[in-house]
Symmetry: C2
Subunit: 305 residues, 2 copies
């Protein structure tokens, strides 16, 4: 049973949502032009001992912020539903709250409500988040032939934090992701991009999703993929960069003539961006130059097993 099977059942016979971006996308639109997201993190599935309780609190906020920023929105409010086993200590809650609070403060988000309840064995933290009202949303289905493909930040940091934690110091992409949501919001609102997606399921998966929805092909230059120094000389670099996920960065596509302006805006936002490939027409598939795509290291749906 795949995630797609489940979504198909859940949405069967569903009356059409107010717009075409319903369940199955990372975020949904509400009638009054707000984006709503809803993500759940479960102990042992979405985190293990590599994340402190404060990291979990931070990350739950960050993954929702990432979804909203990827659609060009600015987060405004959230609700939290927290379910804890009887054995959980109040210290866990205190530390979780601290991490959550830091992230809420960073992105200027109000926690407006929610509920708490008992869980049998594992901590479950579910957060819904809403954006401010806005227009010029960024979509996943509107990439155009001839677009440059860009990514923010560096790729593979979360993977090395996951698979080789000892080689990596604390405070990595895995524990404390900082999605460049303001930059995403800026380039979407200024109509500088044609499509955008966060690559939390990995570059290959999310690029495929964006191209399929846009009915286009793509070619990626593996030598152009940005990496931080922790990947230096690591033989698994390419797999870490393309086949894992958990990098809360954005992939976006834009007309080539906007390169200078995009680089300038990125610099203003203290975000690095790299041009990694081209959108091709639909008769092309989605390829890496001169090398096959590495096998998936990680399924978002069975993570941290």
């Amino acid at each position: 049973m795949t995630e797609d099977d489940i979504i198909k059942e859940l949405t069967k016979g569903q009356r059409k949502a107010p717009n075409r971006f319903g369940i199955g996308d990372d975020a949904a639109l509400v009638v009054d032009n707000r984006i709503i997201t809803h993500d759940t993190m479960i102990e042992s599935i979405h985190w293990d001992s590599k994340l402190s309780p404060a990291d979990v609190g931070w990350k739950l906020v960050a993954i929702n912020v990432s979804d909203i920023g990827a659609m060009g929105g600015t987060p405004e409010w959230c609700t939290l539903s927290l379910s804890v086993p009887e054995k959980t200590n109040i210290d866990w809650i205190t530390a979780f709250s601290k991490g959550m609070r830091e992230a809420l403060k960073k992105w200027n988000i109000n926690l407006i409500g929610g509920d708490t309840t008992r869980s049998p064995n594992h901590i479950v933290a579910s957060m819904a988040m809403g954006s401010r009202r806005g227009y010029n949303w960024a979509w996943q289905h509107t990439a155009q032939k001839g677009d440059d493909i860009w990514v923010t930040g560096t790729l593979g940091d979360a993977a090395i934090g996951f698979f080789e934690p000892k080689k990596h110091t604390y405070n990595t992409a895995l524990q404390r992701p900082i999605p460049p949501a303001e930059f995403g919001q800026t380039i979407a609102h200024n109509k500088m991009i044609h499509a955008m997606i966060d690559i939390s399921d990995g570059l290959h998966n999310d690029l495929t999703r964006l191209c399929t929805r846009s009915k286009v092909g793509a070619r990626i230059d593996p030598t152009a993929l940005p990496a931080s120094s922790v990947l230096y000389n690591n033989k698994k670099s390419l797999a870490y960069q393309t086949a894992f996920g958990e990098d809360y960065e954005y992939l976006f596509t834009a007309a080539p003539n906007l390169e200078t302006l995009l680089r300038k805006l990125a610099a203003q936002h203290k975000v690095t961006i790299h041009k990694i490939g081209k959108i091709l027409d639909a008769k092309h598939s989605i390829t890496l130059d001169n090398t096959p795509w590495p096998s998936t290291l990680f399924s978002h749906f069975q993570k941290a097993k």
Copy 2:
């Protein structure tokens, strides 16, 4: 560690929400005058074999509808975050979806997004729901001395479905609750009530909550509590009616001169209402006439253990 301890930690140092109804209430208000709710149901905590998968789908919608209706709102959209163990069969998802769909259709709600993910052992279903925009919300903190206390429907049906399932046929308050949300919305919008709360945590708990927040006392006539015929001659009636919960009915308080109008509106909505007591001033406690309150049969936070 109580639910209150957890909420205290979660909201510590939190910047003030846009209004006074933040986390800790059943529902929260957003800046643009929508109510947002967020409730989670976990297998083995919030349901067991007494609920079919379709019942769970229905009930997840109904409990959020109940929260919104209790504040006088009309539900409009929801998001679902569903987490399932690997062992879960697609048949479970299909049946769950069917029950959810029936409830969404009943209350005219759009499922606009969400996510699906893996869970280690138990199914986790988390739903956030938003109301249409509106005014004249119903509060929990505005009951006034001299108000009549009313409840909708009958009390104790969910309890007998839980404790004595063999005595009760299928399709009880426990499996398929139908909160009278439209009636709640109507009496709130017509400014006919002073305060309202849903009694899903039990009459005693929720009346205490409402009175504490309103800084008033209350006196309830146990002989006036409405019961359906399944409670006839049951020695535990009073405990089932006051000390269990899961009855998705509303308790509201209103000026005595509105009795006739309230009864008329209730009849129009095919909702039964019963006058069960009086709001007293703060120097009175919250009492049952001639009998102590039965001990809690059920803690919302440790249910179905």
